[in-house]
């Protein structure tokens, strides 16, 4: 019997099956990543602390404060708006449901890793938030805009960010990133050439 084939958000909208989208404009790279399971955790009334404890016990990290991310590479908890965190990586432990509304969002978001030296400058074309390295450090996150799109932006390294937009908007995300990347890249080249 045939089986249903999973596609990345970009593969889905292009009808292709060429693997995760990768767009490079020297020196920047934007690549679609599979972060594992995405689960929104919305603690019930007065349950934030208990949820944090359960999360710590099950996945090794507490509930993040606003604009912060907790956890390690394999399992992270991302602040995701008012009274909400996004568990990234593992399938949620059953114990969490006692304290929070637990909702599968694994297919709802398009996740893109953007990297390159001084990549803040690319995002400065699209994101109205101060993302400079000494202000927006590794593990800092914001629910904000990328162009006209509602997004989640997280710094994952000195020169890398994770950007999440609605799955259906992945094409627009890559288009916006491309526009910003070629602009910054051309400026670098012009400055280099004197």
């Amino acid at each position: 019997m045939a089986e249903l084939k999973a596609k990345t958000p970009y593969e889905t909208v292009t009808g292709g099956a060429s693997g995760p989208e990768r767009m490079e404009v020297t020196p920047f790279v934007a690549v679609e990543v599979d972060p594992g399971a995405l689960t929104s955790l919305a603690p019930y009334k007065g349950q934030a602390k208990a949820l944090s404890t359960a999360l710590e016990a099950a996945h090794g990290m507490g509930l993040p404060k606003p604009n912060r991310m907790t956890g390690k590479q394999s399992a992270q908890a991302l602040w995701f708006g008012r009274d909400m965190a996004l568990l990234i990586g593992p399938a949620p432990d059953a114990s969490l449901a006692a304290h929070a509304a637990v909702t599968d969002q694994s297919d709802a978001w398009s996740v893109v890793e953007l990297s390159g030296p001084g990549v803040d400058e690319v995002l400065a074309r699209l994101v109205p938030v101060d993302l400079r390295g000494h202000v927006f450090k590794r593990g800092h996150t914001a629910r904000t805009l990328v162009g006209h799109m509602s997004a989640s932006v997280t710094r994952t390294g000195a020169d890398s960010f994770r950007i999440m937009v609605f799955r259906s908007m992945v094409k627009t995300l890559f288009r916006e990133l491309h526009h910003a990347m070629i602009g910054v890249s051309a400026r670098r080249e012009a400055a280099g050439a004197g």
Binding site: A101, A124, H148, G183, R187
Partner: protein, 974 residues
């Protein structure tokens, strides 16, 4: 004329074209300096009288020398020649002249000038009224004007960007450099913006020493230090154009106006958010109004010195200097040192003495200029009235300096008059967080500027909680600014105030005489200050003349309002990235690629794209495809992507109570595994949205909304939860994007699913059932709901499988004689069933109007319930939802058409209702419509007249129940 050995620019030659002629300039030249070096000073024609004009200034305030740069779709009109840098291959041409700047037939306007005074258009073209739009305005617009856009789409790239800093320093003259240096050394994050291509401000234009070295060398040393600091960002060619709330400043960066085409964006519009700002924008020199002061060759003295000292260009072989401050003598000294002949210096101050080897006429005025296409001589009046003429090629004039207060006034603050410098200066605190310093604050000596800049930075550092100490300032000139007011030289003839809009002293006096005495009225009556320079050169002089004419003091007369932007900003830069499809994000469903592959035209539904219909070979119109798709669903099975409907996951112990409060009907009583149709009201009692909500668990519901209202409903739920019912423990999350959902509709839907689902027993899925299923090994959800009136299901899987499942569904449907159907067929089928959409619940209808008042439960309260019971909202004479079928000769019914009683005149007073939706029903072989009719439910069977005044239709139709097909719902329940 280039003076060998003068200037700060290098010798690299560049070739450019102006008005079809090839010229050589030097790298670092502006178009204006390069043309002057080539002895070209006629660069434009004036706006109204088409008078020949040359550059008046050397900066962005230039009113005269506007040119068009580039060709074809890339052309850029109204570029100031004083700002445009020359580069190899630059092509520019003059504007507002036909056939050429040197011979312009429209200059006939100048001869008509006695008739074209202030208010001329208002007085003359009043009558006949129709002539204004058809004749006068087009003719006037063609004759008066600036450069034009190409009319083609702009192919260039533009950018928008955000920047953040502790301190924004606006302007990189001595004040700005000192402020930036002090703040940067104090550890603050600094952005220093300057609109010039080279930082230094007036230090590049003057012979001025700082710390024992030429000012421009000092500037370069400071800039070298700033360039090496990580906490400093230098932005050249960047004009801060506006000051906005919360420390936000708009700025336009000219990224690629100074080089040939390439991958660079043309310009970038910045939004800079700064904790503190220093306005160090300097000052602008005022021209003096005297007869024929607009002749090419007449320019401000500051511009004369800038061309000489920075670009090594003399405005002429002999230059007369005219002014009212010591700058007059500085100009004469610089010119003489460069070997330029200065026939005379005219200083309106009676105690003026020569400061070098030149003749001074103290207490004198220049009263007229003469010459063809440029100044050849000026006439001077001595203090005793005696007249004397001097031959010259240029006149350098100065009426003093106006601090650049513009940005300080962008939040509606008014500057204050300072009598000592005869100018307006900013008041402290006009823009929260911004301090004006240096010349922008009325401090005109170099030493004073350095001191001011340092102090402003120290204050900012202290505000930012940083400790800093004042370094010793380098010694610099500190001469006092001695000024005697000089606005307009009395006399006959036309003396220009606003060069760009051709407004003269006489015009302003006429405005006052005709009782346009307020400065705002004068501005609008004369158009003074309304051109692209926004009165930078003329505002203060014009209101000084107005003050004089109305017998008031200048401070009493006041200024007009300063608004952003400081210099013109192309819309293309503000809207960068927003052209074409960049206008809004595009949302694509998981079946989008498959739908496009089968040739479906897509239509927009909010940000989503949905297939309109799926044409088959031989079908030439949308109706053929649509009719086939309807029959296909009614007879076999059809597949439609319904993922765009909003899906909201609702969980919590109080989820049921919460839904009872937002929906008119009960949801707490819904059984797990069942789905119910719900109606939602706004607080004002009108219908907000509808949809089905499924109960997935004891504390777990899944709400669906219409595609259009998904965002609004989510926002509404958030509001209700936070503001109205914070007592309820409930949480919601949008899962619209998580699930790909497809309608499988038609008598063969059951058969299709039987082959597809892992273990499917149709008997376990009665109408309105819902629950988990497994589709080819993937966990999904199934809902037995129908929007077509057929036996139907909606099947949902995680979106990553959407494309795959959709293709599988289509393949299976096709083996059963079915296939895909689009929005057109979906709409036809819901009209046949009388199901409403936002065409009916358009914001002005109530549950009563759509025949659903019984859905407003009387067992509980809900949002909008009380308000929906207001008198009048249940009035039988309200327009109620009805069905309509044509019964006369005209078989067409149209949405938007109005209804009238047969025999009554179709006018507003007789209006009985209107049509909201219409279609051709292939099932019933007739046109159908839904609409609203006064007391409609009681009028089934009645004949009514439809009139569509827009499309010229007049049809007779019969009123009926809005459910045309299977009124008992046997097909969808069965």
């Amino acid at each position: 004329m280039r003076i060998p050995g003068k200037g700060l620019i290098d010798e690299t030659q560049v070739s450019f074209r102006f008005d079809g002629h090839a010229y050589e300039g030097r790298a670092g030249d502006t178009l204006a300096s390069a043309l002057l070096a080539n002895d070209v000073r006629l660069m434009a024609r004036s706006f109204k009288y088409h008078r020949p004009r040359g550059p008046l200034t050397a900066g962005s305030e230039e009113p005269n020398a506007l040119v068009t740069v580039g060709e074809g779709a890339r052309r850029d009109p109204n570029v100031r020649a004083t700002v445009q840098e020359v580069y190899d291959g630059l092509v520019a041409r003059s504007q507002n002249a036909f056939p050429s700047t040197s011979f312009d037939v429209m200059a006939v306007n100048d001869l008509l000038s006695p008739f074209l005074s202030a208010g001329f258009y208002y007085k003359t073209f009043m009558w006949p009224r129709a002539f204004w739009e058809k004749l006068y305005e087009p003719v006037i617009r063609r004759a008066a004007g600036l450069g034009a856009l190409s009319g083609e789409p702009d192919p260039d790239q533009y950018e928008k960007a955000f920047a953040f800093c502790d301190l924004l320093v606006i302007g990189a003259g001595p004040t700005g450099l000192m402020a930036a240096l002090t703040a940067a050394r104090g550890g603050a994050d600094v952005i220093l913006c300057d609109e010039d291509n080279r930082m230094g401000g007036r230090l590049l234009a003057e012979n001025e020493e700082i710390g024992g070295m030429p000012g421009h060398v000092w500037a370069e040393e400071v800039l070298d230090e700033l360039r090496d600091m990580e906490n400093v960002r230098l932005m050249t060619r960047t004009t801060v154009t506006g000051a906005y709330d919360q420390g936000t400043y708009g700025a336009l960066e000219r990224v690629r106006h100074h080089r040939p085409r390439g991958p660079l964006p043309k310009s970038c519009f910045w939004r800079i958010v700064a904790k503190r700002a220093v306005l160090a924008a300097g000052a602008l020199e005022r021209p003096v109004a005297f007869r024929n002061n607009d002749r090419p060759g007449v320019m401000t003295a500051g511009a004369t010195r800038a061309y000489l000292n920075r670009w090594g260009v003399a405005a002429g072989k002999s230059v007369v200097v005219f002014g009212n401050t010591d700058d007059t003598h500085r100009t004469a000294r610089d010119l003489i040192a460069a070997g330029v002949h200065v026939p005379v210096v005219v200083d309106n101050r009676h105690d003026a003495e020569p400061q070098g080897d030149y003749r001074v006429i103290a207490g004198g005025h220049v009263v007229n200029s003469s010459g063809r296409r440029g100044v050849e001589a000026v006439e001077v009046a001595h203090a005793n009235g005696r007249r004397e003429s001097f031959a010259c090629e240029s006149l350098a004039m100065s009426g003093g300096w106006n601090p650049s207060v513009h940005l300080a006034c962008h939040m509606n603050g008014r500057p204050v008059w300072n009598d000592a410098i005869q100018a307006f200066v900013p008041k402290p605190g006009m823009i929260p967080g911004m301090t004006a310093a240096g010349a922008a604050n009325g401090t005109f000596s170099t030493h004073g500027c350095l001191e001011d800049g340092q102090q402003a930075a120290l204050d900012a550092l202290s505000d930012l909680g940083r400790k800093a100490e004042a370094d010793t300032l380098p010694p610099a000139g500190d001469a006092p600014y001695r000024i005697r007011p000089l606005w307009a030289v009395p006399g006959r003839g036309r003396a220009w105030l606003d060069f760009q809009n051709d407004v003269t002293v006489k015009d302003v006096k006429l405005a006052a005489q005709e009782n346009f005495r307020s400065v705002e009225h004068m501005k609008r009556y004369t158009t003074q200050g309304m051109a692209t320079d926004q009165g930078k050169n003329s505002n203060v002089a014009a209101l000084a003349v107005l003050a004089d004419a109305t017998g008031r003091a200048i401070e009493e007369t006041g200024t007009t309002t300063f608004r952003p932007p400081y210099t013109p900003v192309p819309i293309a830069a503000m809207g960068a990235g927003g052209g074409g499809i960049g206008f809004a994000p595009q949302r694509f469903t998981t079946s989008d690629a498959a739908a496009r592959q089968s040739g479906a035209p897509m239509i927009e539904a909010g940000l989503w794209y949905r297939p309109s219909y799926f044409p088959k070979p031989g079908e030439t119109t949308w109706r053929q495809s649509c009719d086939r798709e309807v029959r296909m669903v009614r007879d076999a099975v059809g597949i439609c992507d319904v993922s765009t409907l909003g899906k909201i996951d609702i969980q919590g112990p109080d989820a049921g109570a919460f839904l009872d409060f937002v929906y008119t009907n009960m949801f707490s009583t819904l059984k797990v595994g069942r789905t119910r149709y719900g109606l939602m009201l706004r607080e004002d009692g009108h219908v907000m949205d509808d949809g089905t909500t499924a109960r997935l668990g004891a504390h777990h519901y899944l709400m669906t909304t219409t595609t259009a209202a998904a965002g609004n409903v989510m926002k509404h739920l958030d509001f209700v939860s936070q503001a109205l019912r914070p007592d309820l423990d409930v949480r919601f999350t949008s899962v619209t994007e998580q699930w790909a959902q497809f309608a499988v509709a038609g008598p063969k839907s059951r058969e299709l699913l039987q082959g597809l689902l892992d273990a499917f027993t149709p008997e376990d899925w009665p109408f309105m059932a819902c629950g988990d299923i497994s589709v080819m090994g993937v966990k999904g959800r199934l809902f037995r709901i129908s929007f077509s009136g057929e036996h139907a299901y909606e099947i949902a899987v995680p979106s990553r499988y959407g494309d795959s499942l959709y293709r599988e569904l289509i393949a299976r449907a096709e083996t059963l004689g079915g296939g895909a159907y689009g929005m057109e067929a979906l709409n036809v089928m819901r009209i046949e069933k009388g199901f409403i959409t936002h065409a009916e619940i358009h914001g002005r209808t109530t549950a009563f109007d759509i025949g659903m008042e019984r859905m407003v439960s009387d067992k509980k309260d809900c949002i909008g319930k009380t308000m929906s019971e207001r008198p009048g909202l249940m009035d039988p004479m309200r327009e109620q939802l009805v069905g309509l079928k044509p019964v006369g000769a005209v078989k067409q019914l149209t949405a938007g058409a109005h209804l009238y009683n047969a025999g009554e005149e179709p006018v507003r007073e007789n209006d009985q209702g209107y049509i909201t939706s219409n279609c051709y029903s292939p099932t019933l072989d007739t046109v159908l419509a839904l609409g609203f009719l006064k007391n409609g439910r009681a009028r089934h069977g009645e004949k009514i007249r439809m009139v569509d005044s827009l499309r010229g239709l007049d049809a007779l139709c019969e009123v009926c129940d809005p459910v045309f097909l299977d009124p008992k719902g046997e097909k969808m329940r069965g």
